[in-house]
């Protein structure tokens, strides 16, 4: 019997965190100090720096996945509404989120927006905030609004901990998250260069670990992973290099990500857990923290369907950049069923790709999709066709 390698140990730890729908890691973190609190947030973006600066743990709530049996949650939603809100309600009603002291609902779509009000009704004893981000990108307009929104959240969190959050604390947290984002960028760049060394099924699990671990620990974990996986060469396959897009909210089952890889795709970029790399570069940590977070959001953040593109020319630019900088050969549109933002965005992005001669394929999933054969076949055909076209060229 062979001992497991360090990289296997990291992946197994991440897998255990991913599988744990009781958020024991959060409970353990809280148990170290009775003053500690955990604040949950749903996809896509909240400024986690504020939560961290309060001394609290930001916890990404990304639905129940494919292992949670949704019984009560289904009674709250019609069949034509996506699955993430129903499994999230299931997590709440079954007590799994009791360790979460407050919930933030970012402005991503009407379903998550309305879920914020449902949470207020269902869990009146918990702190709940709908967190709006601006769709106007002028500093004196959208920035002004956004700074007020962040200030409101800062004051709420200060009340929860019993003392104000200082600028120094915020700047310290910005540094922590700058480092975390840098590590995520390193991981993504490493995967794009060596996709066989950092399979997306593993990179994804590392990202998910960042939803429940303190950022400092998560940063270290990612760097340990890169170092350890680099030591053990893995066979490189003649796979097609693809970008996956449309999966920014309800997450695909892990089996789906594995199926893409088994079907012959190397995922070299994606939009899973965008919160961890929403801000594209370092946020200055020696100035007015809310002002700097605002500027980073307005002028230096990623693009996705729930964020308004101010001009037609901007549509698809971010995706094209992902394709070009990662050396991708095609795009896989993988969106959850009934996801309005992703599915309404898709035809525009497809048009941009077609004009740039970039092949794509599209399918839908739910977080509990069980049958992978059709997706594997579709992805396999797509990968084969890319390889055939490449050969022909």
């Amino acid at each position: 019997m062979t001992a497991i390698t360090p990289v296997q140990a990291i992946v197994e730890r991440c897998q255990a965190l991913f599988d744990d729908l009781d958020f024991n890691a959060v409970k353990q973190w809280k148990a170290a100090d009775p003053a500690r609190k955990a604040i949950g947030y749903m996809p896509w973006y909240v400024p986690r720096e504020l939560i961290h600066a309060a001394g609290f743990l930001p916890v990404g709530i990304l639905g129940g996945g494919d292992s949670l049996e949704v019984i009560q949650g289904d009674a709250y939603y019609q069949s034509y509404i996506c699955r993430i809100p129903r499994s999230t309600i299931e997590l709440g009603l079954t007590g799994r989120l009791d360790c979460i002291d407050g919930m933030l609902f970012p402005s991503i779509c009407d379903v998550i927006r309305n879920l914020s009000g449902m949470w207020q009704v269902l869990f009146p004893e918990k702190y709940v905030r709908y967190f709006d981000v601006p769709q106007n990108y002028q500093d004196n307009v959208g920035g002004h609004f956004y700074i007020h929104e962040m200030q409101g959240l800062r004051e709420d969190l200060a009340k929860l901990r019993g003392k104000p959050i200082t600028d120094e604390e915020l700047n310290a947290s910005i540094r922590v998250y700058n480092d975390n984002r840098a590590a995520v960028r390193e991981l993504y760049a490493y995967r794009a260069q060596n996709p066989q060394q950092a399979p997306t099924s593993e990179v994804y699990l590392l990202g998910r670990a960042g939803m429940v671990l303190p950022p400092e620990e998560h940063t270290q974990l990612m760097r340990d992973y890169i170092r350890e996986t680099d030591k053990i060469p893995r066979p490189k396959r003649d796979n097609a290099r693809v970008v996956v897009t449309g999966s920014f909210c309800e997450q695909p089952p892990l089996a789906l990500i594995k199926s893409l890889e088994m079907a012959g795709c190397y995922v070299v970029d994606d939009d899973y857990m965008l919160v961890s790399r929403w801000l594209l570069d370092e946020v200055p940590a020696d100035a007015d923290p809310l002002d700097e977070l605002s500027k980073a959001f307005l002028h230096r953040s990623a693009s996705m369907a729930a964020k308004y593109d101010a001009t037609r020319a901007e549509k698809g630019v971010f995706l094209l950049k992902q394709v070009k900088t990662r050396g991708a050969e095609g795009v896989v549109f993988a969106a959850p069923s009934f996801c309005d933002p992703a599915l309404l965005e898709r035809p525009m992005l497809q048009d941009v790709l077609a004009k740039n001669n970039i092949p794509y394929t599209a399918f839908k999933y739910a977080e509990n999709t069980g049958q992978m054969a059709p997706i594997r076949e579709q992805a396999g055909t797509f990968a084969d066709s890319i390889k055939l076209w490449s050969d022909a060229a």
């Binding site: 991503i108 879920l115 709908y130 996801c339 933002p341 309404l344």
Partner: protein
């Protein structure tokens, strides 16, 4: 008041006739006149703006001499004329998902068919898309899709959601800043007309008169029998004020005529006018949450009036403004007032506020219960409605029921299923009356958050 008989919109079936009162005829004339106006706008050298119903800035657009096109209205008019089914399927064949809003697909399908509007007149490609996604994220993608097709300039007015159940000063300030910094300069540039705030004030003075009359009309349903149907009838009543007419003398006149007609009905003790004449015997008084189905609108309505069910108030009639809770456009504070208007539309309220509002309606209008028409296309309305239903039942003791249809996709209207559910619901209401369960129970949470 004279009742007249006029033809209903074109259909493949034998053409039915509908009884309409003077105000309904006037409303139809107004809506048709706007389509004529749009058809001729470019020939007359006028620019065209497209914008959405909730939080629409009609008074402001008129300050720039812009003709106004409302894509939701186009889609619903196409739905009522049985044209939307083909448009939706055309859009789906063109790559749009079967999962998404059918208003969007009906609009995109209409464009693919050559931009012929519901009345058969050509609809011009807009010169500007005024994008306020008050209460609905889909609006944002909708105009991005139109912009992607036609490369039309788009002006975004981001209206924050009332997540905490109130309008925070920061939210109001944000909307006003956008109006000053982005929207007004943008409209000046596109239209070539300089903004005149006194002109805006003048339009708002007209708006207030129409708003006062509309509220009197909607609140007339507190009478027994109700002289109006606050859902099926109200969709006619809200047409001019929620679209291209608020702020015009035509709208003021329409709402005055309408109010006078309704007051006359109250004096005469008459029930609401239906397509088959006056409803004689009011059996059930209901509150309805959610938009109507447009493709089978008349069949749907008939299921109610055949049973003597009148809708005394509906949330859909507030989708373009909550005037019955006191809001009026304020000529003395025009931009702040536009901001308040946008922020206060029904689907921009959080779930607890919507629940409060319905409980309040049940009490004030002495309703027998709540009916939710859950619309597949509309997550803004639909997500959370099952919880709303439970809460309203719990707090009022009144029975609630749930049906599912769609806006303009005829594939999602199952007449037999809807009728069965409605009949069961009416029986339930009757039973509840007999047993007295729930009598005397009143909403316990005050309507604090709706302005």
């Amino acid at each position: 008041m004279n009742d007249t008989v006029i033809p209903m919109p074109a259909s493949k079936k034998a053409k039915p006739t509908a009884v309409k009162d003077d105000a309904m005829n006037l409303q139809k004339e107004l809506i048709n006149a706007n389509y004529m106006d749009l058809a001729q706008a470019h020939k007359q050298g006028r620019k065209v703006a497209a914008t959405f119903v909730p939080g629409n800035l009609n008074e402001l657009l008129m300050c720039f001499d812009l003709a106004r096109s409302l894509p939701e209205t186009n889609a619903l008019q196409n739905g009522m004329r049985k044209k939307s089914g083909k448009f939706i399927m055309d859009a789906e064949r063109d790559g749009h998902s079967e999962d998404v809003c059918t208003y969007v697909k009906a609009d995109l399908g209409m464009m693919m068919g050559g931009e012929i509007g519901p009345t058969g007149d050509p609809l011009p490609v807009p010169d500007v898309l005024l994008l306020s996604y008050t209460g609905c994220f889909t609006f944002m993608k909708w105009f991005e899709l139109i912009r992607h097709k036609y490369d039309v300039p788009t002006l975004m007015l981001h209206v924050p959601y009332q997540g905490s159940g109130r309008i925070d000063p920061n939210m109001r300030d944000y909307v006003v800043r956008q109006l000053k910094e982005t929207i007004i300069p943008g409209l000046e540039k596109i239209s070539g007309v300089k903004f005149d705030i006194d002109r805006l004030r003048q339009y708002m003075k007209e708006s207030v008169k129409a708003e006062d009359d509309l509220v009197k009309v909607l609140q007339s349903a507190k009478n027994r029998p109700s002289p109006i149907d606050g859902y099926f009838g109200a969709v006619y009543y809200i047409g001019p004020i929620f679209t291209a007419f608020r702020g015009t003398p035509e709208a003021t006149n329409y709402y005055r005529v309408l109010r006078e007609e309704i007051e006359q009905r109250v004096r005469e003790g008459r029930g609401p006018v239906t397509p088959e004449g006056d409803m004689k015997n009011e059996q059930y008084r209901l509150i309805v949450e959610g938009p109507p189905n447009w493709t089978s609108f008349r069949d749907f309505w008939k299921m109610f009036y055949d049973e003597g069910a009148v809708v005394v108030s509906s949330t859909y009639a507030k989708v373009g403004g909550l005037y019955d809770f006191g809001f009026r456009h304020d000529p003395d504070h025009p931009l702040e007032s536009l901001a308040e208007y946008c922020l206060g539309c029904y689907t921009n309220l959080n779930l607890p506020s919507r629940i409060d509002m319905i409980c309040n309606y049940i009490e004030e209008y002495q309703a027998d219960g709540l009916l939710i028409n859950s619309i597949k296309s509309c997550n803004s309305f639909s997500a959370g409605q099952l919880l709303m239903m439970r809460e309203v039942e719990k707090r009022t003791g009144k029975p609630a029921a749930f049906i599912e249809t769609d806006l303009v996709d005829p594939r999602y209207f199952s007449a037999a299923n809807v009728k069965n559910r409605l009949e069961s619901y009416f029986q339930m209401v009757k039973q509840k009356r007999t047993t007295g369960i729930g009598e005397g129970v009143r909403p316990v949470i005050p309507l604090h958050s709706v302005q």
